[in-house]
């Protein structure tokens, strides 16, 4: 909402300075977006001084002047005026200026080989006089201290731009703003004085509001003004309209706009001669069309509020008028409309048709239903003053009565909510100034809400009115109390926090990517989950919610590879979506790693990242989070976006149904299709929702400290097994032989090839054996050795390698 200070002062009698007014606007909740001089083409003309003038090398009559244009800027200007001499004060026009005399727009140009930045102007060029002999000469006594200032300063009107919250339609008119300021002590609201206007004859175009079910219009007021001469608006009106950045059209249109901006009372003027017999306000019928004033043809649905005549639709009530009945310069008779439209109806229609107009914006928020006549009065009076014409009596059709709503307000609520006290009398004064009618019964106030405040309906709204006018700075700052009702984080949140930092500590950079992604990439990773389309995506390549944490990671991995990075470790912790209902999401960690380990390192041999790198990071992370590695179980099943032979899943326990994590190499086909150019891409995922919350608190986690000081023995074994036989199974068989003796098992070699039959491999392991009761004798060890070999051979079909 824009307005000029002088316009505001038509409604507000105030001695306050502009800056005080601006501060007060902010204080009462009318946020000031900007407060600026109206920018004008004439701002380009500056008072300047020639500080040096030299002969142009290539032209006798031209001079090259160094011109001081203020703020320590010196520019070179080529000038042909005979009076362009050192020390002269004159008027400078910079590049981009438009010369008033001939409307020529200046550019930086070369004049006979010398670049000239702008020009020095004669009085005739500035339309000040006919003097065109030389450049303007300014008197040093008056201008010497004004170098750099605007030469034309007649236009110093300042425009305020407010951002009005949707609850305050009343402040979409200058008068509403003035009322708030007055209530807050920044002056006095002036009374509107209406000259009595002479009303001649009746409004003889019949108006009816139908009783349609969805009727969006409840009041339709109108008057006829006959015999007008429509024309260009007078200067004062044009200036008002342009000062707010709008374009003057014709006196009649400008007046209706002016009244709207002044009183927040939208109006519409019809060319009365173009109305076919009568006005019918009704619901539209599906398929009806009309051409609106924005020169677009609209096809209507049913149930939209239209103003029509016998021939069809004239306009969409409260949204936009039509071209068929629009006023023109040659219009002689006009019908002026001042109506009330129901906000919900306006909003629905404009949304469906995607129309946004000043009228729509206002009606949608709620126009004062008691301002019908005020609007007609003010506009018709102005029209008859400017365009002449005879004003008819007003015709008001109503299908609903609007009474001011009433609220009972107990003044103690104010302190209860705001924490500070003000006197009842002050509350009453503030409310009176805002337009409330107040009657008092002890500490209970009976309030009649002004008709222009559709936002006020209950006592809490009154608290807000009083506190914002009184000033939020009166609210005390109460030190926060530390009382708590619950732990800060619950177990799942602690886990989130822990895993996030645990993964990062293994050399991964955390990223945060969109929760949505490109459906084409998502398809590679979505498995059997449902695609979740966004109806109105921000762009076509962010059209679905992500079903997997990998789609964005893979995308950004590629981007970073393209930036020239080779060895990349990225991770994200965040939601993935299983379906489009609230709560059907999982929290997942996705980590991705590419390139080499120890690339170009002088003392380590470089190698490609592989799945055992990410497996280590994954397992270690789970261990750090308190899960027992001894019970982890690895299966070679994994989602299809992993390399089928180089990936696996991790279960916290062998009997668990859901894996808590996957790891592996990204499927080579996907890597190829996404055009990811790198030597290797591996990654892992952890599903936080599947991580059981079976952890006991640290204080209960520590069991008794038991250890054995008896001698340890180590024995090496090599078993030949089927190629597909899993090391995990071998370890499980051995470790379950005697948990009290077998302390650890390490696999130190996997071998295929010479001396090993086809389809077989050799697994070599080292077993540490220690008793907690005695030092084992050679024959004890021999016994356990034999037991290991026989158990493994019988349970796995393996053969000990001799």
């Amino acid at each position: 909402m824009k307005f000029t200070m002088s316009w505001l002062k038509e409604h507000l009698e105030t001695k306050h300075k502009d800056t005080q007014i601006i501060d007060k606007l902010t204080d009462v909740g009318l946020e000031v977006e900007s407060f600026e001089n109206i920018s004008s083409d004439l701002d380009n003309f500056k008072i300047a001084k020639i500080i040096n003038a030299e002969q142009h090398p290539n032209a006798d009559r031209l001079r090259i002047c160094d011109v001081d244009i203020g703020q320590q800027n010196i520019v070179k200007v080529v000038c042909g005026a005979p009076n362009a001499k050192k020390g002269l004060l004159t008027v400078y026009a910079g590049p981009g200026s438009v010369i008033p005399k001939n409307n020529m727009k200046l550019t930086v140009s070369k004049i006979r080989g010398i670049t000239s930045y702008g020009m020095l102007c004669s009085e005739s060029e500035l339309k000040l006089s006919d003097e065109s002999e030389g450049i303007t000469e300014l008197k040093p006594s008056k201008y010497s201290d004004k170098i750099g200032k605007n030469f034309f300063n007649n236009n110093n009107e300042k425009v305020v731009d407010l951002s009005i919250t949707p609850n305050r339609p009343d402040c979409l008119g200058v008068r509403g703003i003035a009322r708030d300021l007055a209530a807050a002590g920044t002056g006095k609201l002036k009374n509107i004085s209406h000259k009595n206007i002479k009303k001649d004859g009746s409004q003889n175009i019949k108006v009816s509001i139908t009783k349609d079910k969805k009727q969006g219009c409840t009041i339709f007021g109108s008057c006829l003004i006959k015999g007008v001469t429509n024309k260009e608006s007078p200067k004062w009106l044009k200036e008002k309209i342009t000062s707010l950045g709008q374009k003057p059209i014709s006196a009649i249109v400008d007046i209706t706009n002016y009244v709207m901006l002044d009183l927040n009372r939208p109006l519409h003027a019809y060319d009365a001669d173009k109305i076919d017999r009568e006005i019918i306000v009704r619901d539209s019928k599906k398929g009806e069309t009309f051409e609106a004033l924005d020169n677009k043809e609209y096809k209507l649905d049913d149930g939209m509020c239209v103003i029509s005549d016998k021939s069809g639709v004239l306009g969409l009530g409260g949204v936009i008028g039509g071209t068929r009945s629009g006023t023109e310069l040659k219009t002689k008779n006009i019908l002026l409309e001042s109506a009330y439209f129901i906000p919900r109806s306006i909003r629905k229609t404009s949304k469906l048709l995607n129309i946004d107009t000043d009228a729509k914006f206002r009606f949608e928020r709620g126009i004062d239903p008691q301002s019908i006549e005020t609007g007609l009065l003010k506009a018709s009076q102005l029209i008859s003053e400017i365009c002449g014409g005879k004003i008819s009596k007003f015709d008001i059709q109503k299908i609903k009565q609007y009474k001011n709503s009433e609220i009972k307000f107990n003044t103690s609520l104010f302190e209860k909510i705001t924490g500070f006290k003000i006197k009842d009398n002050e509350i009453i004064k503030i409310l009176n100034d805002l337009g409330f009618k107040v009657s008092r019964k002890k500490s209970e106030l009976k309030l009649k809400v002004p008709s222009w405040r559709p936002d006020i309906s209950q006592p809490i709204d009154i608290v807000e009115e009083v506190v914002r006018i009184k000033g939020y700075e009166n609210i005390e700052t109460i030190e926060p109390e530390k009382k708590r009702f619950k732990d800060t984080l619950n177990k799942q949140q602690k886990l989130f926090h822990f895993l996030q930092r645990s993964v990062a500590s293994k050399g991964y950079l955390e990223t945060v990517t969109w929760s949505f992604t490109d459906s084409r990439i998502n398809n590679f990773f979505k498995e059997n989950l449902k695609e979740i389309k966004i109806v109105n995506p921000i762009s076509l390549d962010l059209d679905v919610l992500r079903n997997s944490i990998f789609s964005n990671l893979a995308f950004y991995l590629k981007k970073n590879l393209d930036r020239g990075f080779k060895d990349i470790s990225l991770f994200e912790i965040g939601p993935i979506f299983k379906n489009n209902q609230p709560g059907e999401q999982l929290t997942v960690i996705g980590a991705i790693k590419s390139g080499k380990i120890s690339r170009l390192n002088w003392n380590e041999k470089e190698r490609l990242v592989d799945i055992f790198d990410v497996k280590k990071d994954l397992i270690q992370t789970l261990m750090e989070a308190g899960y027992d590695k001894q019970s982890f179980f690895i299966r070679d099943k994994s989602p299809t976006y992993y390399h089928p032979g180089k990936s696996g899943s991790v279960y916290l326990d062998k009997d668990d149904i859901d894996p808590v994590a996957y790891f592996g190499e990204l499927h080579p086909n996907i890597v190829k299709k996404l055009d990811i150019k790198t030597e290797g891409v591996v990654g892992f995922e952890i599903y936080l929702d599947y991580l059981k919350d079976n952890k006991i608190k640290l204080k209960d986690q520590k069991s008794n400290f038991e250890y054995s000081d008896y001698q340890k023995s180590e024995r090496d074994f090599a078993f030949v097994v089927d190629k597909n036989y899993k090391a995990q199974d071998l370890i499980e068989i051995i470790s379950s032989i005697d948990k009290s003796l077998i302390r650890s098992i390490k696999i130190f070699d996997i071998y295929e090839g010479e001396k090993i039959p086809d389809g077989k491999k050799s697994i070599a392991l080292n077993v540490t054996i220690q008793s907690s009761e005695k030092t084992l004798e050679e024959n004890d060890l021999e016994k356990i050795n034999k037991l290991i070999i026989s158990t493994v051979e019988s349970k796995s079909g393996a053969k000990i390698r001799s």
Binding site: Q500, I534, I538
Partner: protein, 355 residues
């Protein structure tokens, strides 16, 4: 007696020479071997008369000890010499780089969320979360923003269905609704998380982060709100003094509502919070609207309190001097490295927010 003394003198002298290990061992054999001179002297003990024997034995033992000690120290001396001469050839260029370091980083958004949680934890708030996908009811209607309310235009909403019933939450406020529906007052929570609006330019991104705050109890008023935010902002920006301004504003779910500005100044193109005469809007807040309380079955005549919503990304930008919001979500390796935090820098009450 004089014989063994002689032997002693002779060998001590020998052992003072510069000797190899082999020569020392040779001496050892000469003295203590089977037919060594000292060994042989011990053999003579038996043939001595009683009165002499004791004295001789004592002398012999002390000579033996002395020589053995000398031999041992000689051997040690040689060993150390050898090690020292070996070390001279073992000089490494220690300025060569260490093995590969891979330093991970925590994203600024995560760090800021942890900072915020830590600060609010100190004054008794707990953390709640809600789903990213919401229905229209929790996101708008229950928050006193009925359908066809122009306030809905303030949120450019992403929808997941054509009936506009399922959407991506436009703010974290639905967590208020869920929390209150699932519990009983008092409530004292913050709810950080992802939020979405179909808006994209330099200062808007289709996804961003908010933290919601809610404190409902019997007598919580606007003074408590001011105190809470004043404490938060001071703690977050790690300054002793802060200029803060409450401006009336409008949110459908709070009444009265306010926007909060903080004072700042520009120093060398950087924003310095707390001083100066410029104002920066950083959050919206207010007293929870009685209609919202009714919608979640909390009696507004008994309970009241405040709520606020803060843009997390923006707080991070201000605190850490990050200019472009979009960069938060573009996964530029250089940016993540530059603005990321070491995972061990965990903001906490007792360690403080930062080093």
């Amino acid at each position: 007696m004089s014989d063994i003394k002689k032997i002693k003198e002779e060998y001590l002298k020998k052992l003072d020479n510069n000797l190899e290990v082999e020569s020392v061992n040779q001496i050892k054999t000469e003295l203590f071997g089977k037919n060594g001179q000292i060994s042989n002297s011990f053999k003579t003990l038996g043939s001595l008369p009683n009165d002499e024997r004791k004295k001789f034995a004592s002398d012999l033992n002390s000579i033996k000890d002395e020589l053995q000690e000398k031999i041992n120290s000689k051997l040690q001396e040689i060993e150390i010499k050898e090690i020292n001469s070996k070390l001279e050839n073992e000089k490494l260029d220690v300025t060569l780089p260490e093995r590969e370091i891979n330093q991970g980083k925590i994203h600024p958004v995560s760090q800021v969320i942890d900072e915020i949680s830590s600060i609010f934890s100190e004054i008794g708030f707990s953390v709640e979360e809600g789903p990213d996908v919401e229905n229209e009811h929790y996101n708008f209607t229950a928050l006193n923003t009925p359908d066809n309310h122009p306030a809905r235009d303030m949120h450019d909403t992403f929808y997941l269905d054509n009936n506009k019933e399922i959407l991506l939450r436009t703010h974290t406020s639905p967590v208020q609704v869920r929390t209150m529906l699932n519990g009983k007052p008092p409530f004292k929570i913050i709810a950080p998380g992802r939020t979405y609006r179909s808006d994209s330019d330099q200062t808007h991104s289709p996804m961003f982060h908010q933290v919601e705050g809610l404190h409902i109890d019997k007598n919580i008023n606007m003074g408590h709100l001011k105190g809470c935010l004043n404490y938060f902002i001071k703690s977050f920006f790690e300054v002793d003094k802060i200029k803060m301004r409450f401006r009336p504003s409008h949110f459908p779910f709070t009444e009265p509502s306010a926007e909060v500005d903080i004072g700042y100044e520009l120093k060398d193109g950087k924003i310095v919070i707390g001083e100066g005469d410029k104002w920066l809007e950083i959050l919206g807040c207010g007293m929870v609207h009685p209609n919202v309380l009714k919608n979640v079955n909390v009696n507004p005549d008994k309970y009241q309190g405040y709520a606020f919503g803060i843009g997390i990304d923006r707080l991070g930008m201000l605190k850490y001097g990050i200019n472009d919001l979009r960069a938060f979500f573009e996964t530029d390796y250089r940016w993540l490295n530059h603005f990321g935090f070491d995972p061990l820098d965990v903001p906490s009450n007792y360690r403080g927010l930062s080093r």
